[in-house]
Symmetry: C2
Subunit: 175 residues, 2 copies
Amino acid sequence: MRKLKLDELNRIGVDEFQSTPKYPVVVVLDNIRSGVNVGSFFRTADAFLIEKLCLCGFTPHPPHKEIFKTAIGAHESVKWESWDNTVDCAIDLKSKGYLCVGIEQTSQSQFLHQRSPMQQPVAVFFGNEVHGLSEDLLPLLDTVWEIPQFGTKHSLNVSITGGIVLWDIIRELNA
Amino acid sequence: MRKLKLDELNRIGVDEFQSTPKYPVVVVLDNIRSGVNVGSFFRTADAFLIEKLCLCGFTPHPPHKEIFKTAIGAHESVKWESWDNTVDCAIDLKSKGYLCVGIEQTSQSQFLHQRSPMQQPVAVFFGNEVHGLSEDLLPLLDTVWEIPQFGTKHSLNVSITGGIVLWDIIRELNA
């Protein structure tokens, strides 16, 4: 067994990325504070061929020093949009046929390992590092998923949560 | 639908965490450079009731400012050990019956969604942010898993990788 060299990974270039069919998944960031977290979402979205990132409210967007630091270039491949208001973004995505899924701890969340299978394009909403998803977004969500957590802390880091949820979808679509 | 309050999450305290049975999973960090990444592993390991973190080589360990920043206290709940050498740590874990799994892009990796089911305690090895797993570790690994990646970048961030792989195991153990 040997480690693969970089050129053996057969990664695609930015032009090829943009013309490659994506998984039917949109990521919506609702008032995320940290550019480090946003950059990390870019890098994960690149790896998993996500359609686009919607950067809503005060979520930072490129050009931004912290985003560049953790995206390490993925802001050039992954499509993104800036929205003043997350509710407007949700209304737009619903009108285009996306199932709107919030990631949150609520009275009606489905645990991620017990969620319904994917049956249509999905828009996944991730909330602020401290406050979670905006209250006025909840009535617009079709469902809410929650990562089961068994320890002392209230939540996972939002970019780790993003990696986990996006993998859970990509895993299913590759099954 | 309403968001749950913090006290409705029923999180356990540090004392209860330490006496709670863990999932049979050990995380080994092989010469990780960034305390931010190590702290993030602590937070994820807390959420998923991981047995312990083995911090090997030059991987920073508590007390450490960057670890405290991203662990947000999880270094107090999650058990950890410091090892001078990752190979010695692997030999110790093998002697205790752990399946040693590397996360790496190699000539013989199994894709994460095609990996074998868990049949014994597992030790998961994550490598350096730039260089991946140490070459001298490869002969000691029982198997290697790789997260399939379809974009332009060579790899995911290591702490995101950690969240994804640990979730993939916890998901199976909760199925």
